[in-house]
Symmetry: C2
C-alpha cells in the first residue's frame, strides 16, 4: 500500500512516499481503508522528534482518519466491513498512523460517520473535537449558562471549543487576531469576539463578562495567568493544554482566594472509554450541524511533506495562518 513515512525523526522533507506492507487486523482491530487523514500539530512534533516517543521504523505519522472498514479481526462485533468510520489517537505511543491507504486500528478508537457527513469533515474534526470535549466536559465540567473565554477561537482546537461550548449551552467569548480570524471565530458561533489586534483584550473581556469568566481556555503558547486569574469568576477553571516551553508566573493569592483551578491534560492519554464518550457527543453534533469542522487546505498523500510543512509554518514558525484544518486525501 502507499504510505507516507519517516525512517527516523526529522524535518517535513524526511517524509518519504512509498510502498509498505498492508497491515493485518489483529484481535479487536479493524482494517480501515483510509480515505482522509488530517494533520495536527502533535503529528509534526512526533515526526520531528520534538516530542520524544518510541517509534517503529518506518513510522507512519497521523492521528486522525476517516474511511471505510475493509475487514475486521477476531472479537470485533461493533463494526462490520463497509461501515464508514472516523477516529483519532493513532500514530502515537508506538502505534502506526494514518498517512497510508490501510490502517489496522483497535475498534475501540473508531466511531460511525454520520450519513450526511463527508469523510474530510469527519477527519478534520477528530482530534480537535475530542480534545475540546475532554477539556470542557471531563476537566472543566462546563455547565449550561456559564461563560467561557476561548483564547484563539479561530484555531484548530479553539474553533472546536467554541462550537462544543455552544452545543453544551454556554455563553462563548472568543479572542482572535485580526478581522479574518475574528470572522472565523464568529462563524464558529462565538457570542462575542474580541479582536486583540484592534482592542485591549483584558478590558474587552471584562466588559463582556462583568462577573468574570467561568472557564478560561488558553490555546496560546505563552498563557498569561495574571490575565486569566484576574478575569476569572470565583471557582473559575483554567484549561492548559498548550505552551510546552512557557513559564508564566502564577498569582497565588488571587488564585486561591478566588478558588480557581488550573487543569492540564493531553488528549492522547485519555482512555478509549473517555474518548468514546466524547466521540458519541461529536457524532450527534456532527449530524445535527452543531459541530462543523472546517477544512482550510487539502493535499494528496504524495504531498504529505507539504501538508506537514504548512502545519509547522502555522503552529511552529508562525509564518502562516490557517482558518481550519489541513487534510490529506489518501483514497477515494
Amino acid at each position: 500500500m502507499r504510505a507516507a513515512y519517516v525512517e527516523h525523526p526529522g524535518p517535513p522533507e524526511s517524509l518519504q512516499i512509498g510502498d509498505l506492507p498492508r497491515p493485518e487486523p489483529g484481535p479487536g482491530q479493524c482494517l480501515v481503508r483510509v480515505t482522509v487523514s488530517a494533520v495536527n500539530p502533535i503529528d509534526t512534533y512526533v515526526r520531528s522528534g520534538a516530542v520524544a516517543m518510541d517509534l517503529p521504523s518506518p513510522y507512519v505519522p497521523g492521528c486522525d482518519l476517516a474511511g471505510v472498514v475493509e475487514a475486521v479481526g477476531s472479537g470485533v462485533s461493533r463494526l462490520r466491513p463497509g461501515d464508514r468510520v472516523w477516529g483519532s489517537n493513532q500514530g502515537l505511543l508506538g502505534r502506526q498512523g494514518t498517512l497510508c491507504e490501510y490502517a489496522a486500528v483497535d475498534a475501540d478508537w473508531l466511531y460511525p460517520t454520520p450519513d450526511a457527513i463527508a469523510d474530510q469533515t469527519a477527519a478534520a474534526g477528530a482530534l480537535v473535537g475530542i480534545t475540546a470535549h475532554l477539556g470542557l466536559v471531563r476537566e472543566a465540567r462546563l455547565q449550561p449558562g456559564e461563560t467561557i473565554l476561548v483564547v484563539g477561537g479561530s484555531g484548530g482546537v479553539g474553533s472546536a471549543v467554541v462550537q462544543l461550548a455552544k452545543a453544551l449551552g454556554a455563553r462563548v467569548i472568543a479572542t482572535a487576531g485580526g478581522p479574518d480570524k475574528a470572522a472565523a471565530a464568529r462563524d464558529a458561533g462565538a457570542d462575542v469576539v474580541v479582536d486583540y489586534e484592534a482592542t485591549d483584550m483584558s478590558h474587552a473581556i471584562s466588559e463582556a463578562a462583568p462577573h468574570g469568566v467561568d472557564v478560561w481556555w488558553d490555546t496560546r503558547r505563552a498563557p498569561d495567568l495574571d490575565q486569566a486569574i484576574g478575569l476569572c469568576a470565583p471557582r473559575g477553571r483554567v484549561i492548559l493544554m498548550a505552551g510546552r516551553d512557557a513559564r508564566p508566573a502564577l498569582p497565588v493569592g488571587a488564585f486561591y482566594t478566588k478558588e480557581c483551578r488550573l487543569l492540564g491534560f493531553v488528549m492522547f492519554k485519555a482512555s478509549p472509554e473517555e474518548q468514546r464518550a466524547a466521540a458519541d457527543d461529536l457524532c450527534r453534533w456532527l449530524a445535527s450541524g452543531e459541530y462543523r469542522p472546517r477544512v482550510a487546505e487539502s493535499f494528496t498523500l504524495e504531498e504529505a511533506a507539504e501538508a506537514h510543512a504548512l502545519q509547522e509554518s502555522a503552529t511552529v514558525h508562525r509564518t502562516a495562518d490557517l482558518a481550519g484544518k489541513i487534510v490529506v486525501r489518501v483514497g477515494e
Copy 2:
C-alpha cells in the same frame, strides 16, 4: 459579657478587653457559652486589616470555638441547651467572632463535641481540621493507597492534613525543618518525614515516592511549582491555600503533559453543608483518636493580645515556632 475586640483594624495591642452586650440568639441560631476559642492566622489578618473585610465595630475576632449551648433561637431542633458543641467560621464576612463569653452562632456551623474530647482539643482542631478535610476530600479527592506530600507537616493545617490523610488511608510523606518539627510530623502520623534542613528535600521525596506524589499540599508562603510538578505523579493534584504574595513560575509543559491540577480554595467560602460534611468525619475521627489536635500554648481571655502576637510571630514574622495551636480559655 467579657470580650476581646477592636474598634478599628490594627496591631495585636489594639485588642481591648471589656464588656460588650451579651448577644441574643436569632432565628436558627444558638447562644453558645464559649469555653475555648482558638487562634488562627486568618484571625490576625482580619484584625490587622491585611485581609480587608467589612467589620462591625466593635469587632470580636476568632473563628473557632468550643462550649455549651446556653439557649436556642426559633427553628433550632438539632441542638438543645446543655449540649457541648464546637464550630468554626465565625468572625468572618460580617459575623462576630469567638473571643468572648457568649456567641450567637447559626446552628448550621455547630457540631456535637464527642464525650471524651476536651473543649481545648475540639476548638484547636476546628478550622484546621475542616480546611484539611475540604482540601483532601472536596478538592483533591484523595484515594486510599495514594501518596500525599505535606510541605510543612508540623504546622497547624499541615499536621491536620497528615492525620486526616492517614485516616483516609493514604501514605503520607511530610516535610519539616529541624528535629523538633520532624518529631512533631512523625508524631502526627507521617509515614516518612523529610527534614529539609538536614537533607535535600527533592531528592528525599523522589526516593520516598519513586512513582511520584499523587497529592502535593503546599502550606508554604512561597510554593515552588517546579518542585511540586516535577515530583508529582501523572494526574497529580497540587493544593494551594497559602502564599498570598507568591508568584512562582508554572512549568506549563510538564504541568499539562503530566495532566496535573492546581486547586485553590479558602475554607471560609465553603457552604454550611460542605463544612458539616467535613465536621461529621472530624467528630468521628476525634472520637476514634485518629484526629488528635495539638495545643501548643494556652492563654486567658485577658491575654488575647499576647495570643495574637504569638500567632503573628509564628506565621507573619517567622520569629517563633509553634508545635500546635494557640487556644484562649474564655470560660469554664
